[in-house]
Amino acid sequence: MIASEAAQRRGIRTGMKLSAAHALANNLCVRTRDAAAEHAALTRLAAWAGQFTPAVSLAPEALLLDIEGSLALFGDLAALLGRVHEGIEALGYRAQPAVAPTPLAAEWLARAQPGAVIADATKLASRLAPLPLGGTGLAPATIALLDNMGVRTLGDLLRLPRAGLARRLGAETVHRLDRALGRAPDPREPYVPPETFEARLPLPGAVENTEGLSFPLKRLLLELCGFLTARGAGAQAIALALHHPRAAVTEVRLALTAPTRDARHLGELYRERLARSALPEPVEALTLRVPQIFSLHARNLDFFNPRHTPAEAGAALIERLRARLGREAVQGLSPVAEHRPERAWRYAAPGAAGAEARFPPRPLWLLPEPVALEVSNDGAPQLDGPLALLPERERIESGWWDGGEIARDYCIARNDRGAQFWIFRELAGERRWWLHGVFG
């Protein structure tokens, strides 16, 4: 049994019997260790930790990072440890780290002396000597046997004659000690992260509003971005599922203009999107899923210093605007080779190169629909006063083939207050005057 800080204040100690603990605290909350969940969490952390070194391996209750090759990349050991530590805390975990020249030594040290660092391989044996045998993976019966012989620490054990040790405890145990001390090689199979990302995060309590989701979501996004950094990749389509007690899953998808692994940017986008979403029911758990990742090889350190180029800043801006205003509110423009003025342009994806087309003179503002102009008694069009028409006329007759037929005479008009307009007169029917554009 392991006691939380609150439980320890009530006198409950780690290793105590459950009945004794219940006697000390009548509102004791007992949780059973879930080995499968622990393993799943460790596996997810392994995928995340790949950003620090490509050589991550899973031990039964620990994660092993071979950091020898990464030190130069991160500056020094302290800087690297600081990043790992902060990163794990931001994901909502607590770690007991230790650094040693061999994987087994690091694992044992992490259990017995969290935070310890053995950088000097020649001091390995002397530094390991005080460690109790409890955390070294020896069978409990073996530990009891050795305890009876007065052997309680690794140092005690290593002082025993090697031949007797092999006879009493088996060659495997001796080999294990050799590997821990660096006398025998100890290659580990590196963890290979999956091709896609999917992570579920159960919430400690049901969350009623979308603001309450931003913190747990941040954890998932940090995990995702660690995974992406490890893979040298970015995500372009992301699906967030909100799980409710009864209602169907609410899915909030992000489609980005370019692949990214900027956790802060993704957090901003989701905050805007969630603020505009309604929850049918409280949320119990989140699942973040990225079905496909895209290589971002050229820039392998941008997790810590994202967004360098104007193009990336531009893509990020468009995504931020769309997250709040809606996709259709942010557009590019393109001319269209077409005589009818209202069809001579269209919305386009921002940045799409416009069609090459040559146009006669046009106003900078076009009204979405022509507006009928008032006329004076003698039939002259008016807008904010009488309009003076410039002599040039441009006749546009087109569209008879698709039912959008127009027949108009366009000209430029000015009123006496200095404004210029683009107006036309119908060539058929009532021959009315219309305002179609403004020379802004």
Partner: protein
Amino acid sequence: MSLETLLHRADVWRGGAAPASATGLGTALPSGFDALDAQLPGGGLPRRALTEILLPREGIGELRFLLPLLARLAREERWLAFIAPPHIPYAPALARAGVDLARVLLVHARAQNDALWATEQALRAGACGAVLAWPDRADFKALRRLQLAAETGDSLGILFRPAQAAQEATPAALRLRLEPVPDATPRLAVHILKRHGGWPAGPVTFEVRHVMDRSASPAAPARDLHARRPRS
């Protein structure tokens, strides 16, 4: 913050210095109208700052006046953002004026706060060479945020506002009031209501020619648009 840094901030106004020597503004962007540029600190609109353009009404040449500048900025690798414009910017007219449409970003905003928010985002992002915005209203505090965002994002911010806004104080680096001069060849009178390193000046009057007149070469250099001396 050192005095030197302080003096180089785009929103710090140094009374008494001659306009041309107020170089703390970084690069100024010439409007292309010589008579106006001669009156502006650094010889143009202040980059990394906010410029307010006050209008009595639309349709007097307020956009045509900026076309030489916009066409030039569109050649950079950054966006020209139009935020909450009163009408649709007409793609054929922009293309004809030499503005690369692949750099134009159009943002519609329904709610008023959205327009100011989007303007600030666009200015701050560092992704826009120029941000043109038509907010319904903007108080001093909002303008101040935009001015800081323009500095951060190295953007030219241009706000189109009604002429009545001249009554209010502004944190913008430059405030111009445009006025049409109805005439046989309509001209634009530009009053400089606020500039760095100089007292209010103007009006500077010049002809913003019709986009119609430039049929020969859509991407003609800005200097082709000749400027006139002030009439006063």
